[in-house]
């Protein structure tokens, strides 16, 4: 029983990380049909920004330094997202394949650049006393950082939900995911809305990067790549451009992965996630069409 509780809580924690990584990806794809391969590079950028800040703030207590690191990760993610959108994505408006190619090139170059500056090895990320210890939940010793992931994901989910439901910007985004051409025809600048969404998504990617670093207790240039693939799977299962779908899918993927990895064999969990994807595709192939 304690095993099960531990697995469920860590599964939800992992799902929370997936949600952080996938929510931006899903909105970006839903609104503009841009499949952003550089999302993983944004995560790496956020992770290293956080790591640099934390390793320079040796005077502060671990937890406080990490909080500043998280802010830095968010800021760097947003900034890089803004530059990439304005300089690289915008000129290729509506040319989806070229946009994918550019983000592929960018992800290769960016990860290589990080590796060139800080080396290919993992760098330790000190995360403070509280995050390194565990809390007893129904007899299971749950690592505290899982609660941080869950809180961050909840915050992002509620924040995005409020943005989508109660603001004019959210209204435009929802309408744009539904039918971008119609919104543009009504005289609304969808392109500018897209820039905002891209920056938000990139900031979330930066956050996912530094929290992924907390999960592994270290940052590596390759950490974005594996995360990105699961984020893609989450986006596909959840349905492109649907925030609720992404949340449910992230939770399902995290839980399935943790539970089967433990109860079947290590590695089976990763495979069963892909099987889940194949199943969703066979049963409802329409779920992936998103906006047009």
């Amino acid at each position: 029983m304690t095993d099960f509780v531990l697995l469920v809580v860590t599964g939800v924690g992992l799902g929370a990380l997936y949600f952080l990584a996938a929510s931006g990806l899903s909105l970006i794809y839903g609104l503009m049909g841009v499949l952003n391969f550089a999302h993983g590079a944004f995560m790496v950028a956020g992770a290293y920004a956080g790591w640099v800040v934390v390793s320079h703030l040796t005077g502060l207590a671990g937890g406080l330094a990490l909080a500043v690191g998280v802010v830095a990760a968010l800021a760097v993610g947003a900034l890089i997202g803004l530059v990439v959108e304005l300089v690289l994505i915008r000129p290729l408006y509506e040319r989806h394949i070229q946009q994918v190619l550019v983000t592929v090139g960018l992800s290769l170059a960016a990860v290589a650049a990080v590796q060139g500056i800080w080396g290919p090895d993992a760098r330790q990320l000190p995360k403070g006393e509280w995050l390194s210890s565990t809390t007893s939940v129904a007899g299971a010793h749950v690592p505290n950082d899982r609660f941080l992931f869950i809180a961050a994901a909840l915050l992002l989910f509620v924040g995005l939900k409020a943005l989508l439901q109660f603001t004019r910007l959210g209204l435009v985004i929802r309408a744009g995911v539904e039918n971008r051409r119609m919104v543009a025809a009504l005289g609304i600048d969808v392109q500018r809305t897209f820039t905002v969404v891209f920056v938000l998504g990139s900031a979330a990617a930066g956050l996912a990067g530094i929290l992924g670093g907390v999960y592994a207790s270290s940052v590596t240039p390759g950490q974005g790549g594996s995360m990105l693939i699961y984020a893609f799977i989450v986006v596909v299962i959840g349905g492109m451009g649907s925030l609720n779908g992404t949340a449910v899918a992230a939770l399902a993927v995290g839980l399935v992965q943790q539970l089967t990895n433990f109860y079947a064999a290590s590695g089976v969990g990763d495979l069963s996630v892909v099987l889940l994807l194949a199943l969703v595709l066979l049963l409802r192939p329409r779920s992936m069409e998103g906006a047009r």
Binding site: A112, A113, G116, I117, D270, P285
Partner: protein, 343 residues
């Protein structure tokens, strides 16, 4: 006449020159590690030719049919690993193991393709990526010790023909790689001139229009995917022979991405483009590492030197520039220059 010259005579002359290279003892300092027919150069060129052939097989999907697949690593790795596994676990000689690998991979491509092609466009890209990732995970987890995990697998030397073994026989492996490239080139040339090839081009240009015209869109895409996968698997077999084994690197998503980069760099939808792109990429990937070890970069400030010593940084940046400024790739640029020269 000039067209005939370009499509038949030029490749033929180039083929003869390439086939003759193992008899050329000249040194090309800076370009190749040793004499042209030295083992180091032969190995490097064999890898370049194999990569060019694999890029050509990917172009059947991406450039010819417009299928943005992120799962081509799956079939290349399947070709390579199934050969190695058939030799180590079933004790088959190389030729038989290669047949097993080719048949197995083609069936695999048929099943995966039939599922993945239920969706189109970007969604297809993500689904193929997921399948390739699943294979990559299986290889790394090393179930029952058959895939060798992170170490990879080496081909059993006792089951290999002697001609393909050892440093001195590097020219034979080079000829195997060249032979693979020729086969891939001929299959692609035949395919694009066939009925299916024309249907592939129609699907690439406008899928909805092709469907309205009554072309079997799904079947056309599946044929393209299976033929491309077969050639990719053959490339995987040759890759294993040239390198003496399989490494988990070729199962990764990065490997597929590098294929995409090669095809776009050279020029998608043209055999010359894919071959030039694949050859140059493999060459640059191997040689840029040596540049990074040279003293050339020592004068630069620390971080900049570190970044520039990463081959992928240079290739990735170059790739982005190509997408913007030369969407038809290097060969497209070359063709434009040639055409401007003609009156």
């Amino acid at each position: 006449m000039t067209r005939r010259l370009r499509t038949v005579a030029l490749p033929l002359v180039l083929l003869l020159v390439l086939a003759y290279l193992p008899y050329v003892p000249t040194e090309l300092p800076g370009l190749l590690p040793d004499r042209v027919n030295g083992p180091g150069s032969m190995q490097l060129l064999a890898i370049c030719l194999t990569t060019a052939g694999i890029a050509l097989s990917y172009d059947v999907l991406f450039g010819r049919t417009g299928l943005l697949s992120f799962g081509h690593a799956l079939v290349v790795a399947a070709g390579s690993y199934l050969t190695a596994i058939a030799m180590s676990s079933l004790d088959l000689p190389l030729a038989l193991a290669a047949v097993v690998a080719l048949v197995g991979t083609t069936l695999l491509a048929l099943v995966v393709g039939a599922i993945a092609l239920r969706v189109g466009g970007i969604a297809f890209a993500m689904v193929t990526l997921a399948f390739a990732q699943a294979a990559s995970i299986v290889v790394l987890r090393n179930p029952g010790g058959v895939t060798g995990g992170e170490e990879g697998l080496t081909l059993d030397r006792d089951l290999m023909p002697n001609l393909l073994l050892g440093v001195a026989n590097a020219p034979y492996r080079y000829w195997v790689a060249l032979g693979f490239l020729v086969v891939a080139w001929l299959v692609v040339a035949w395919l694009v001139r066939s009925r299916v090839g024309h249907a592939m081009a129609a699907v690439r240009e406008n899928e909805a229009r092709a469907a309205v015209l009554g072309l079997p869109v799904y079947r056309t895409k599946l044929v393209a995917l299976v033929v491309g996968s077969f050639l990719g698997a053959l490339g995987g077999v040759v890759h294993a022979v040239v390198l003496g084994g399989s490494s988990p690197h070729i199962t990764t998503a990065e490997f597929t991405l590098s294929l995409l980069v090669m095809v776009v760099l050279g020029g998608a939808g043209s055999s010359w483009g894919a071959v030039v792109g694949g050859f140059l990429y493999a060459y640059a990937d191997a040689r840029l590492i040596e540049v990074s070890g040279s003293s050339l970069l020592d004068h630069l400030p620390g971080a900049l030197g570190g970044v520039l010593s990463e081959p992928l940084f240079i290739l990735g940046t170059f790739f982005v520039l190509i997408v913007y400024f030369a969407p038809t790739g290097i060969t497209g640029l070359g063709r434009r220059v040639v055409r401007r020269g003609e009156p």
